[in-house]
């Protein structure tokens, strides 16, 4: 599979796959639908909108690159398109908050960063 043009490859985008056969969506990219096995699916770009499912602020990092960013908030966000993703978020986010993604530099890479919607 070609590399996705999303944040995992330095592009300011969150991509997901939508199965043409069973309609399920998946975030971890694969050559098939993990629910029904179909190889027919669309690559879609997410809106970046979602709801906070869980949060954990990292205070103890284990590498020099990540320690420079401490504290940083790791969040799980339920995207409006129906998949869950891990990302960074503002320090004041709470479970249930409606959020929107921008992108930020972290340890030499681009990562999605969620902030509360006004």
């Amino acid at each position: 599979m070609a590399k996705p043009a999303d944040w995992t490859n330095g592009e300011e985008a969150i991509l997901y796959q939508s199965c043409a056969s069973c309609g399920k969506v998946q975030y971890f990219r694969r050559g098939f639908c993990a629910v029904c096995g179909s190889t027919e699916f669309a690559e879609k770009r997410a809106s970046g909108k979602g709801t906070v499912y869980a949060t954990s602020v990292v205070m103890r990092a284990a590498t020099a690159e990540t320690r420079a960013h401490v504290p940083y908030n790791i969040v799980l966000v339920d995207a409006d398109e129906g998949f869950r993703m891990m990302a960074h978020g503002a320090g004041d986010l709470a479970i249930g908050d409606r959020v929107s993604a921008r992108f930020a530099a972290f340890a030499g890479q681009l990562v999605p960063f969620f902030e509360r919607l006004a």
Binding site: T8, Y53, A54, T55, S56, V57, R60, T63, I74, G96
Partner: protein, 377 residues
């Protein structure tokens, strides 16, 4: 019919200059002697892995080093669930007549063999290489995420979680092999250094050196009569991003299957040995397994229910949180302690009745589960 005929356990903490193979050998020696067997009578070997000394054929490396030529040998890797997964496999291999005496062994110099940072980095790799690891999470952060959600859904507090650390420390105080012997309070846990919210240092198990082993046999080899009644596994996901809802996690699935496989009910259980990598892990698993109602495990700790003289003594050696965690051997210490309790060899830690035991292990981020019932017959 299969029996756990011998157990061996080193102290956990620092073992300067000992390698993973040294620690595995020490534990194996103890377990085989405890079973009253000779090395040559061991015809099967199952071992875990070492993050300090990775090898693609650790079981044969160990067999050669230890001086055994088994007819069945390989390594097993299911993270923290490895010890019980190996025991389950040993049970089925022996039951099927493939081998007579299986040595199950784990050991690692995880504390002195590498830096704590190296351990944290190595363990964080259970995360997704593209979609999680680049975000800089650590194992405490993966469990911190789960904890935040669990506290949100069930009204559990940080003070509730602290109770589990205090209980495990209290139990460790009376085991000379435990890594920690200084008493702690709920206030100490709450005031300990933040690691990954809501988890603080004392909510997390330590990194340790140590080794553990047992022998699973077709026939009793000594006076011990500890029978494996039944066991089961469940694997719902690998990565926390892909975990199901809290009400659909694998512990509930594996315990239901283990109950069906063994005919044992939770009301029959007299002693519990449950995986406790973090306080949240123990709180959730106790509730998933049916040893406490949702959100009520901490109240049961406070009331003494899980204490040595309580109705359901739990991890009387101190668990991963205070006996220590050397990787694969970590949760194997839970089984060693259960065996000592069942055979009434736990000394001052001895509980009143350990005739039926429930063991539960978890690997990854509540990803892989093994539930097992033992009975003294």
């Amino acid at each position: 019919m299969t029996y756990i005929t011998g157990v061996g356990l080193t102290s956990y903490g620092k073992h300067e200059r000992l390698t993973s193979l040294d620690l595995m050998s020490k534990a194996a020696e103890l377990a085989i002697a405890d079973a009253g067997l000779k090395r040559a009578e061991i015809d099967g070997i199952l071992c875990g892995y070492s993050t300090v000394s990775p090898h693609i054929m650790l079981a044969t490396v160990f067999a050669e080093h230890f001086g055994i030529r088994p007819s069945y040998a390989h390594a097993v890797q299911v993270g923290g669930a490895t010890g019980l997964a190996m025991t389950m496999l040993a049970h089925h291999l022996v039951d099927a007549g493939v081998v007579k005496n299986v040595l199950v062994v784990g050991g690692e110099n995880r504390l002195t063999g590498q830096s704590r940072d190296a351990s944290i980095v190595a363990l964080a790799q259970v995360g997704h290489p593209d979609y999680e690891v680049p975000l800089g999470p650590t194992i405490p952060a993966y469990y911190g995420l789960v904890a935040s959600r669990y506290m949100h859904e069930y009204g559990v507090t940080e003070a509730d979680l602290a109770e589990f650390a205090v209980l495990m420390r209290k139990h460790a105080l009376s085991h000379p092999g435990a890594q920690f012997h200084k008493p702690i309070t709920v206030a100490d846990v709450l005031a300990s250094k933040p690691v990954a919210s809501p988890l603080k240092l004392l909510d997390c198990c330590p990194v340790s050196d140590g080794g553990a082993a047992f022998v699973v046999s077709r026939e009793p080899t000594n006076a011990a009569r500890v029978k494996i009644r039944g066991c089961a596994q469940a694997h719902t996901h690998q990565h926390v991003t892909a975990a199901p809802a809290l009400s659909e996690l694998g512990a509930e699935i594996s315990i239901a299957k283990a109950k069906a496989a063994s005919g044992v009910a939770i009301s029959d259980v007299r002693y519990a040995a449950v995986y406790d990598s973090f306080t949240i892990t123990l709180a959730m698993l106790l509730e998933d397994l049916g040893l406490a109602k949702r959100g009520e495990a901490a109240a049961r700790v406070r009331s003494g229910y899980f204490s040595r003289h309580g109705e359901m003594p739990l991890n009387t050696h101190g668990g991963l949180l205070s006996y220590g965690h050397c990787g694969v051997g970590g949760a194997m210490a839970h089984l060693v302690e259960a065996h000592l309790q069942m055979t009434e060899r736990a000394g001052e830690r001895q509980v009143r009745d350990a005739s039926v035991v429930l063991l539960h292990g978890d690997g990854g981020v509540l990803s892989s589960h093994v539930s097992m019932f033992l009975e003294r017959v």
